[in-house]
């Protein structure tokens, strides 16, 4: 197991390094956004003094390098700073900035939880479905089923997400009112209620991500079907389904896992459109709103969160691909 542990530790270290580099990129990019918070909150007629006062209040007048390290130091300790928007609101209300109210963490946490819930429900439907369809498509390759599955998944991935969403709403909420068309979930809802409301966006996203995973499963399996060990299995009189599930699939896992990870990362970071259509309070909407408001700490925190999700998922995929190789699991 020595090799595997070493490889995993190496990947972890590399992941952390990547995250550090990404944090620099995020910070620089966000600070290059045109306009700043003070200007946009005070409007056209603001006096330079007022703008300067707010900038000083928020620490925007300090050197960017200093601000980067302050931000990074806080982030490492779990303190992502204070949301400009809520800090401002608290200041206008005449009280001291309420420590709990305005922190970035408390702004993001519930939204992120919702996003994870949606991503989880989608993954629970899409991943097994994609692998199952991929195996079937490989088994019945070049048949009507294979073509139909391909056409269906490809058309769904090629259609805009909002279009798919409206079709699903039309089918499942309007014509056959099975599911609610609005997904405005909130604290205190029971799990089953949450699940019911999340189902429509989850189905929309399933349509979006299944094609990619299914086609990779099919391709990775078919790629192996010319291997001598597959021929051997056939010449042992093993039935075709078992040949694919038992002999091809275990050797095709690495590319499949990687595509799954990419799609999961997409579910966490790229679902703004679907959230908007279903009024789902996820992190995507928060992110867009914060960019509009120039609420830099929230934008930075969201970016950092997205980057972490990408890196973590890819890291997991990497490690799982490594573990799927028996040569590494069982060295000579």
């Amino acid at each position: 197991m020595g090799t595997v542990t070493r490889i995993i530790l190496q990947r972890l270290a590399l992941g952390l390094l990547t995250l550090l580099v990404v944090s620099v990129v995020i910070f620089t990019a966000v600070n290059l956004l045109p306009g700043d918070f003070a200007q946009s909150i005070l409007g056209q007629g603001a006096t330079p003094e007022a703008v300067a006062a707010i900038r000083q209040d928020l620490g925007l007048d300090q050197h960017p390098v200093t601000r980067y390290f302050q931000w990074l130091g806080g982030a490492v300790q779990g303190d992502l700073g204070t949301s400009f928007a809520s800090a401002n609101f608290a200041a206008f209300a005449g009280s001291d900035a309420n420590a709990n109210m305005g922190t970035v963490a408390s702004t993001i946490a519930p939204r992120f939880e919702n996003t994870m819930f949606l991503a989880g429900v989608t993954a629970a439907i899409a991943v097994p479905l994609a692998v199952f369809l991929g195996v079937l498509a490989a088994l019945y390759r070049e048949t009507v089923f294979d073509r139909a599955a391909n056409i269906f998944t490809l058309s769904s991935i090629s259609s805009p997400e909002f279009f798919l969403a409206y079709i699903l709403i039309l089918l499942l909420a309007v014509l056959n009112p099975i599911l609610p068309s609005l997904s405005n979930i909130f604290d205190g809802m029971s799990f089953s209620e949450r699940l019911e409301r999340t189902l429509l966006p989850a189905l929309t996203l399933t349509l979006v991500v299944t094609a990619h995973m299914m086609r990779m499963t099919r391709a990775a399996i078919i790629n192996l079907l010319a291997s001598p060990y597959i021929e051997m299995a056939r010449l042992k009189g093993i039935n075709p389904l078992r040949v694919i599930v038992k002999h091809a699939l275990p050797n095709a896992l690495a590319p499949i896992i990687n595509v799954i990870a990419l799609n999961l990362a997409y579910l966490i970071t790229g679902v703004v459109v679907v959230e908007t259509v279903f009024v789902y309070p996820g992190i995507g909407q928060l992110f867009v709103d914060s960019v509009k408001l120039r609420d830099i700490p929230v934008v930075q925190a969201c970016c950092l969160l997205f980057a972490s999700a990408y890196i973590l998922l890819n890291l997991t995929a990497d490690i799982m691909s490594i573990l799927s190789n028996p040569r590494l699991r069982h060295p000579k």
């Binding site: 042992k236 093993i238 038992k246 028996p326 040569r327």
Partner: protein, 547 residues
């Protein structure tokens, strides 16, 4: 004896570019219960296609267009997939050429062994596993109780090949197809596998079709031999009769292949400076030394054959000479000058003087680059020729390797045969006008007749250009035909070196002796005699030593 397998007028076609081309043109085959039939021929003869057809199986892109295959009264050509699947693995089994590729890397050997018996409801998993250990013991695999629980990559090639033979036996089939099962193995390992296959086929009275291109091997294994040439049967006869009295010219030409032999050249003038001199080289991959204090000389116009089994350090020695692997201790001299250890520090002229020809001509040529360009590149790079001069030099080179320039200049590697590709490899090496060429197993991937053509060409070029060759090979027949001096390597050390005549005359170093005596001979009693002579137990010991 009753007939087990009856093939009549079998025609098989393969599809390429939307047309169906014949692979087998109407071959008959009969096999009695318990009989072993040898199927021989060069690559492209259709041996494997024929062997698979005997199982009612054709590879993707192939089809049986005519004829019948009858196994024990069952028509395999028209049988449903279910009927065939029920026979495969249970009554007809297959042993492939490369066990390493044919075992699934994701599962333990024992799980793959028990799969056919459990899927065919012949035995329970436990019974089959016990039986596997019994078979492993019969096949003299080391640690028969434990070896099945390893993954394929944890077991050596020879052992894996025996484990696959055991797997084929798992349901006690009536017929086993052996498709070149020892071609990829060293001679000493080959003997273990041959002995194991013969023993188990006799023990269980299993009929077999033994496919190979090696006549000496088939002479040991088969009761009867069938010779194929480009999809047609040449002749069939009892083994002894076929060996003693081949009828057809083609068969006779196969028998005559090993006749090419260069006479021993006069002794080396020891005062002359060798072209290449390997001096006390010790080299390592990572922290592990794989070459230990290796020294040998290669003189002008001579061929030094470096022989040994896989893992003996032959190719590593070549990597040290070319500077791809700088030695840890020792150095390389060229014409008496010490060369920089790494190729990165060598100048263009030093690089030009030593060229290489590779084993797999297929992978050593860029598939997208035409022949003229492949050869033209070193002409331009080393000799600085361009335009017409370059074209003329490439044409000269093509003529030297006996390929018509106008016909081959614009072809791509995929439009050449294996032997022609290897000739291009030779021309590319010659383009640099070197003094010294390393030939790394250049004939091992080729058929015997084609290989002989390559050896003759290399010999001719040596005489014309006074080239020196380092000829890496594991095939002692090749050594006999082309070498002037021989270096025998084992475990990274030189165990014996001297002129070819010395090497092939006793007394030998014990390891040289083992190598020489392991080369199969045409005599059908050779394996039996050898096993008697060594004592059967020695084979098991040899296997243990290899662990």
């Amino acid at each position: 004896m009753s007939t087990l397998l009856k093939i009549r007028g079998l025609k098989i076609e393969g599809r390429s570019d939307e047309t169906w081309n014949p692979i087998i043109n109407g071959v008959d085959l009969d096999l009695a219960k318990g009989e072993v039939l040898g199927l021989i021929g060069e690559s492209g003869a259709g041996k494997s296609t024929m062997g698979l057809a005997a199982m009612g199986y054709t590879r993707d892109g192939c089809r049986i267009s005519e004829g019948s295959v009858e196994f024990d009264g069952i028509d395999l050509v028209n049988a449903s997939a279910d009927v065939k699947r029920d026979l495969l693995g249970k009554r007809i089994a297959y042993v492939a050429q490369s066990a390493a590729a044919s075992f699934n890397p994701a599962h333990k050997i024992i799980d793959q062994h028990t799969e056919a018996p459990t899927q065919h409801n012949v035995m329970s998993k436990g019974e089959s596993a016990d039986d596997a250990m019994d078979l492993y013991e019969r096949l003299r695999l080391p640690n028969p109780q434990e070896i099945g629980f390893r993954y394929p990559h944890q077991v050596s090639g020879g052992q894996l090949q025996r484990a696959m033979t055991a797997m084929a036996m798992s349901c006690r089939p009536d017929l086993i197809i052996f498709d070149e099962p020892t071609t990829a193995l060293d001679v000493t390992t080959q003997i273990e596998v041959l002995a194991a296959i013969r023993k188990i086929v006799e023990d269980f009275d299993t009929a077999a079709i033994y496919i190979t291109h090696d006549l000496a091997v088939v002479a040991q294994m088969a009761d009867r031999i069938k010779v194929l040439l480009r999809g047609d049967e040449v002749e069939t006869a009892e083994t002894r009769e076929m060996l003693a009295n081949p009828q057809e010219d083609y068969t006779k030409s196969l028998w005559a292949v090993r006749s090419f032999q260069r006479p021993q050249k006069p002794a080396i003038n020891t005062s002359a400076t060798p072209v290449v001199s390997v001096r006390n080289v010790t080299a390592a991959y990572g922290k592990i030394d794989v070459l230990h204090d290796v020294s040998f000389d290669i003189h002008a116009g001579r061929t030094v054959a470096v022989v040994g089994e896989s893992g003996s350090g032959k190719s590593t020695a070549a990597r040290c000479i070319t500077g791809l692997l700088p030695p840890r201790i020792g150095h390389i001299e060229f014409d008496g000058q010490t060369l920089p250890l790494s190729y990165k520090q060598r100048n263009k002229d030093q690089l030009r003087q030593a060229q290489m020809i590779y084993q797999m001509a297929d992978t050593a040529l860029n598939p997208r680059v035409s022949i003229g360009e492949t050869i033209g590149r070193p002409v331009q790079f080393y000799m600085g020729l361009t335009g017409k001069d370059k074209r003329k030099r490439v044409n000269d080179l093509l003529e030297q390797i006996e390929l018509e320039p106008t016909e081959y200049f614009n072809r791509l590697p995929s439009e050449l045969s294996g032997g022609q590709k290897q000739r291009i490899g030779i021309a590319r090496a010659l383009a640099a006008e070197p003094k010294f060429i390393i030939c790394d197993e250049v004939t091992s991937a080729l058929d015997q007749l084609v290989a002989e053509g390559i050896l003759r060409l290399l010999a001719k070029l040596q005489d014309e250009l006074n080239l020196s060759y380092m000829f890496i090979t594991h095939d002692l027949a090749t050594v006999k035909s082309i070498a002037d001096e021989v270096v025998v390597m084992k475990d990274g050390k030189v165990v014996e070196q001297g002129s070819k005549d010395q090497m092939f005359q006793p007394p030998h170093h014990p390891y040289t002796d083992l190598l020489l005596s392991s080369v199969p001979e045409m005599d059908p009693d050779w394996l039996t005699n050898l096993l008697d002579q060594r004592g059967v137990d020695n084979i098991g010991d040899a296997a243990v030593k290899k662990m």
